[in-house]
């Protein structure tokens, strides 16, 4: 076998990523998406610092301030984006809401990823009956749609815990449920890459040298699946945020006292007809833009890393 | 009168890197019922040539200049709609991989009948009869059953027969066969080639065979055209080209045939590889790989010279012809040329069994 210098491999790999980065910089839409996404991340991190009002302050809600239109309509400089039906400053709740939505989205996908990668590695590496069984499970779970599973599980949780105690746990349960609902996507992609990698000689070589299977999987196979995983990761965050918003919209997610973007839209819905459109529209736009940039980034990654994402 | 006349055809590819020439000044002609072959490594542009004759070059490619005349009718200016009446009807094509050429979700019958219906006024029933008749012609057993089967129910050789039958449906003037046997088993290759030859003879159909394999070409074609990097480098009667190749590239191709190496010996590959469109060398494009390259090969382009039997574009051949002409008394130059060029050519091509 031809001896390949390790340094050479690394340098060609990093060259590939540098090349990719240059390609990225020349794509205006991709760069803009990344900037907007970074902006979202920053305001989420800094929400407690930059929000004009403290959402935990009991005086934050005051009905005398309710339904004040945004600054550019009403001219009330205290509330830049107006207030909602309970007199909360919309800018502040949106900042906190974005923070919540992003947190839930990212952590849910981390759970999906860890679970899916482990299952995919095991299924692909060991093969046989175990593989068959795990992939059947993935098929069935996929055919039920993550949203459906999440709605049902959240409904069950709510019935079990009762609405009052449920509200304290809402965020953790949401992360867990959305995280558990979509592992098959990761699992299938990883499994497919493992099957492809397994054919290659270096895995045999590693095995002959007596390297343990766990080490082979994580050190040798996993790095080769980085590109498809990156794509799924990005798109799944968008999907997780949508799922969270939908659940909250149905009243199965974050409670009104601790609103995510979805619950804000839900509570704003009824004001659409009374003329206070901003209560619903501004959080909606915030949510749409966030999901849009994630999807655009995911699209860009898929087009340029060009991995096969196994969805069916 | 000539059936097909291609003159100074230039095909370019409009890429990000610029407008790149894929075919340069291709000229050749074809008589009715004649079988000719285009030979070269992959990347020589021979497949592009096949597709440009029927105006089906894939997207960034386009015909830049030149003319393609069928029965004195210019094809390169025809609209897509007009061209449709040529494709399949006057000029049919056979592709390389029979596994990929037939649509997997349509039956053999549907794929045959649709071709007939789109070019004639026959009724469905008549079209079916015609299709089955053609299936018989390509020696397919129980054609009625095959008619209703899907491509995946047929073997590779059988599919290639079906494809030949489809090409033959409307008795075209020309069949362009692009590597028709490359994807097939060696044992089936011979059968298919024989079938192709026989069918062209029986129906007086002209054949343009595109292949990288001089062995295949020698079995079928009457005339051979050798291409390198988008240009014709040598053309002449197949027998002459094989017995007495003039251009160093043709010699290389011949030497590379497994039959030309002794058992246990390494194959005589041509060193290096075909340049891509992007970095075509200056002058004669072959000079980087040519064992006889001279300084002028890097700068100028050799002209086509007729040595009495074939046309060659090579400075070395040019020089030799001049020398011979200066010697004035010699009209037979090939013996001397052989010694000068290559000694391994002493193995005679007859051993390759041109059946």
């Amino acid at each position: 076998m031809k001896h390949i210098n390790k340094e050479q491999v690394i340098s060609t790999k990093s060259k590939h990523w540098i090349h990719l980065w240059h390609g990225f910089l020349s794509d205006k839409i991709a760069v803009l998406s990344l900037l907007i996404f970074t902006f979202y991340c920053l305001i989420s991190l800094a929400a407690p610092l930059i929000a004009p009002f403290d959402v935990r302050d009991p005086s934050f809600m005051s009905l005398e301030n309710s339904e004040i239109a945004p600054y550019w309509i009403d001219g009330d400089s205290r509330f830049l984006l107006g207030t909602d039906g309970q007199g909360r400053d919309l800018l502040s709740v949106i900042l906190y809401g974005t923070r919540l939505s992003l947190t839930i989205g990212i952590f849910a996908v981390v759970i999906q990823g860890v679970l899916g990668i482990c299952i995919g590695l095991i299924a692909g590496y060991f093969g046989g009956r175990l593989d068959n069984f795990l992939m059947r499970c993935a098929d069935i779970q996929l055919s039920f749609s993550n949203m459906m599973v999440a709605i049902i599980v959240m409904a069950l949780f709510q019935t079990v815990f009762g609405i009052a105690s449920y509200q304290h746990l809402a965020m953790y349960i949401l992360i867990l449920v959305i995280g558990l609902a979509e592992w098959p996507l990761f699992a299938r992609t990883v499994r497919a890459s493992v099957l492809a990698e397994k054919q290659k000689e270096y895995i045999d070589a590693a095995r002959i040298m007596g390297i343990g299977s766990g080490r082979i999987m994580f050190k040798h196979i996993l790095p080769n699946t980085v590109s498809p995983l990156l794509v799924i990761f990005t798109i799944q965050i968008a999907n997780a945020i949508i799922a969270e918003a939908a659940l909250s919209f149905l009243g199965l997610g974050m409670p009104v006292t601790q609103p995510s973007l979805g619950s804000l839209i839900s509570s704003g819905f009824s004001y659409m007809f009374s003329g206070a459109w901003w209560i619903c529209v501004i959080p909606s736009i915030t949510l749409i833009v966030l999901i849009l940039v994630m999807n655009l980034l995911g699209d860009w990654l898929r087009d340029h890393l060009n991995p096969k994402v196994y969805k069916d | 009168m000539e059936l097909l006349n291609v003159h100074n055809l230039n095909v370019n590819f409009q890429l990000k890197q610029g407008d790149l020439a894929a075919l340069i000044d291709i000229s050749f002609s074809l008589k009715k019922g004649e079988r000719i072959a285009f030979v070269g490594e992959s990347g020589a542009g021979k497949s592009i040539l096949g597709f440009s004759i029927v105006n089906l070059i894939s997207k960034p490619g386009y015909i830049k200049s030149g003319s393609i005349k069928l029965h004195d009718n210019e094809l390169s200016h025809l609209s897509n709609r007009q061209m449709r009446h040529i494709r399949g009807k006057r000029i049919a094509m056979i592709f390389q991989d029979p596994m990929m050429t037939l649509n997997p979700v349509l039956t053999i019958g549907e794929q045959m009948v649709e071709a007939i219906l789109s070019h004639t006024d026959l009724r469905k029933k008549e079209a079916k009869n015609l299709a089955i008749e053609k299936l018989v012609q390509v020696h397919i057993a129980s054609p009625e059953n095959r008619f209703d089967q899907y491509p995946h129910e047929l073997s590779g050789g059988m599919r290639q027969r079906v494809i030949i039958a489809i090409a033959l449906l409307l008795t075209p003037d020309i069949i362009i066969a692009d590597e028709p046997t490359t994807a097939l088993d060696v044992t089936i290759q011979a059968e298919i080639l024989e079938l192709l030859k026989q069918i062209c003879d029986d129906n007086n159909v002209a054949l343009i065979l595109i292949s990288h394999d001089l062995g295949v070409v020698s079995r079928v074609a009457e005339r051979t055209i050798v291409m390198y990097a988008g240009r014709i480098v040598e053309q002449g009667p197949t027998l002459e080209i094989i017995n007495d190749p003039q251009h160093p590239y043709t010699q290389g191709l011949l030497n590379a045939l497994p039959q030309m190496s002794l058992p246990g010996q390494r194959l005589n590959q041509i060193s290096g590889s075909m340049p891509s469109l992007l970095d075509r060398p200056s002058g004669c494009a072959f000079h980087e790989r040519c064992p006889y390259a001279m300084d002028k090969c890097k700068q100028g382009l050799p002209e086509f010279l007729f040595n009495g039997v074939s046309h060659v574009a090579c400075f070395m051949v040019e020089d030799m012809l001049e020398d011979l002409n200066n010697d004035a008394d010699s009209t037979y130059f090939d013996n001397e040329l052989d010694e000068d060029l290559d000694t391994s050519l002493e193995i005679q091509p007859q051993t390759r069994g041109s059946k």
Binding site: I140, S145, F249, M272, M294 | R87, M93, P104, Y150
Partner: protein
Amino acid sequence: MLHFLFRRVIQAIIVMVVISIISFLVQGRLGDPVQQMVGQSVSLEDRENLREELGLNDSLVDQYMRFAKNAIKGDLGVSYYYKEPALEVILRKVPATLELSFSAIVLIIVISIPCGVIAAIRPKSLLSKALMFFSSIGLSVPIFIIAIFLVYFFSVEWQIAPSFGRGETEVIFSFWETGFTSWDGLQHLFLPSLSLALALMPLFVRLIRSEMMEVLQSEYIKFAWAKGLSPMRIYFVHALKNTLLPIITVAGIQAGTLVAYTILTETIFQWPGMGFLFWDAISRVDTPLISAYLMVVGAMFVITNTLVDLIYGLVNPTVRLSSHGL
């Protein structure tokens, strides 16, 4: 084919058993059924007797077997709120949901196939670019926001379509309550089905486009051109038929999403279907109804998925061969 069908049915049964266990746990374990049935005023002793009578003190396995037996007979318990058999309550709502889903599916097929095909065969045209732009955005707008905006514009601003309920309905074949037969019913159907369709359409437009573009590169399409066929025949027979294969698989997966989306859509438009009923049942903690919904929707999933597999087998001749071989 038989073997294929057999495997599918076995799988379907296993899935149904798992779902029934979940529904059983929902029904039996969530909340105290005795409490729900008799309220606060009954003595502890009476309650204990009732527990014994209901079999709540039996082992879990026994209780499940009883539940399963009843479920097969069609008895999924009595809804606390409606005081009627839960299955009947749900089945009454099935036509509304199915009509809504059906209209949405028709809209999706009728709109996304031509859009996807156009975007694939003329990728550089302005129309295709506009289609891709809107489908990119559409993919990022959650269904409830689509619904909210549709309601806002069509019902509030322009007042051309009603925003809630089914409107006039009529009972046909003595059990099916349909909104298709009256103009009012169709008007009410417009916004909910449009939101459902719009939510799923972008995915299909993009999918059809990318699959079709790949198919158009294939050898058999080049061969079809070389045969001199008309573009219509090549695009809509040769290419589309091959494009549909992977689409059908995705459509099967999206059937689940469609059901989830009906819950959202029906809630927003107060569409009296299963989804709205489910949402109501959750907020009323009507556990028999929740568990019955799970069973019914589970069964619908299983049936749809099996159907999708069968359709796939019909469109794809290679599947048929492998089943012939057995």
